[in-house]
Symmetry: C2
Subunit: 154 residues, 2 copies
């Protein structure tokens, strides 16, 4: 199997995973501390999806640290298949969550102008949380493509 930048058990792979955890965690933190977020299905879904993403990325980051410390090779077809499926599922869920939340944020901020009319709405927090979710998705999509490439090039 080819060794690629961002692959499992490499330093770049570990950094990608830690980035996913950090941005995902920030997105959750900002969302759950925004008043009234639980009234919106899309925002609840964002929190759930980012929670799943953080758990998955954290587990793989731990595996990367273990592999780097013990100099183990994680690139066997069965493990990589598992990573591919997991990464594809989490990245699709993250994109879906980020986009559905972005749809509502744009509706409130631009189309209905609710953010200027109802000053009590924490629009800025929603916006930053959605932006963090998009960054998490970009990092996961990178991992996902590297894994798929490694698997396909066996």
């Amino acid at each position: 199997m080819k060794r690629l930048l961002g692959g499992p058990g490499t330093m770049s792979g570990l950094l990608l995973r830690l980035g996913q955890c950090a941005f995902g965690g920030a997105s959750i933190g900002l969302m759950v501390t925004s008043r009234g977020f639980s009234g919106y299905t899309a925002f609840c879904y964002l929190v759930a999806s980012m929670g799943f993403q953080v758990l998955w990325s954290f587990a793989l980051a731990c595996l990367d640290i273990y592999a780097l410390n013990r100099k183990r090779d994680l690139q066997n077809p069965i493990l990589v298949s598992l990573f591919v499926v997991g990464d594809w599922v989490t990245s699709t869920l993250s994109l879906a969550a980020a986009c559905s939340s972005a749809g509502i944020v744009v509706l409130y901020a631009r189309d209905l102008n609710f953010c200027t009319i109802h000053k009590s709405l924490p629009c800025e927090r929603f916006q930053i949380s959605v932006a963090m979710a998009f960054i998490t998705w970009v990092l996961t999509a990178m991992s996902s493509h590297v894994m798929f490439w490694i698997l396909a090039s066996v």
Copy 2:
């Protein structure tokens, strides 16, 4: 290069492309005939994204028909790279458009209950259009994965 179900220049590939065109076209048709859709950024984005998807799928369907008629092989690395990039971009745009529109549809139908309060809103049309967009995305994701697999297994 491996020959896979759904690859370029095969009958299954052509059927996938025609399916993408049909569902994408249905999604656009339903959305543009819904009253007041243009007031929503996400719905306009859905129409634009599905339009791009239909154009891309139609072009590749024509190429498949040409290859099937003339018995040409489309599986050379440069062509497949182009298909991979195009499919990945269109499928990501389609998912983003479907999800952002779904966010608004769920907000109106469930969270704010606008669909039962404001009877004039064409909620059902919006819902069916979004469902069609999701089906288009599923078909494009299938094409995209097949192309990526073919490219990576060169």
